[in-house]
Symmetry: C2
Subunit: 89 residues, 2 copies
Amino acid sequence: MLMVVDLTHEALLLAGRARTLAAEAKKEFAAVLNKVDENTELFLRRELAAAGIPVPGALNFSRGINRANLVGEPLPTVEMRDKLKELFV
Amino acid sequence: MLMVVDLTHEALLLAGRARTLAAEAKKEFAAVLNKVDENTELFLRRELAAAGIPVPGALNFSRGINRANLVGEPLPTVEMRDKLKELFV
């Protein structure tokens, strides 16, 4: 089970709960960070490590994706392709 | 009727629909921008103006609020107080 964790306290709390449920169901559980920068990535990795949740990868905040999401254009995912390959291969 | 519009295309579309509903109910309708910077404020103001939606105010992206929202602390609203007074007095 792979959960996306973004920059909110709620996402962290939810990850903790999901981890418990996954453990009860005997499923592996991990979190991928989303929209992080250096500081927030460090903070989230520390918090999740403390909760026993592995973080196999992180997607950085992208100005291009943010812009496309605002104007309603298709998301430019090219820049994320390598990161996603890392995660899913 | 006052709607908060953040930096997504969905929020813009939703504001358009809400404006129509408000007009049918003969209610005034306006939008307040949230988490904007100079560029995004300009873009959203232009789009909303084109849709006939007044924008009486805008709250800027705040690193402090973002941080508090991440670590689960009370939001530091002091910096927004003047802006909010402008809007609601």
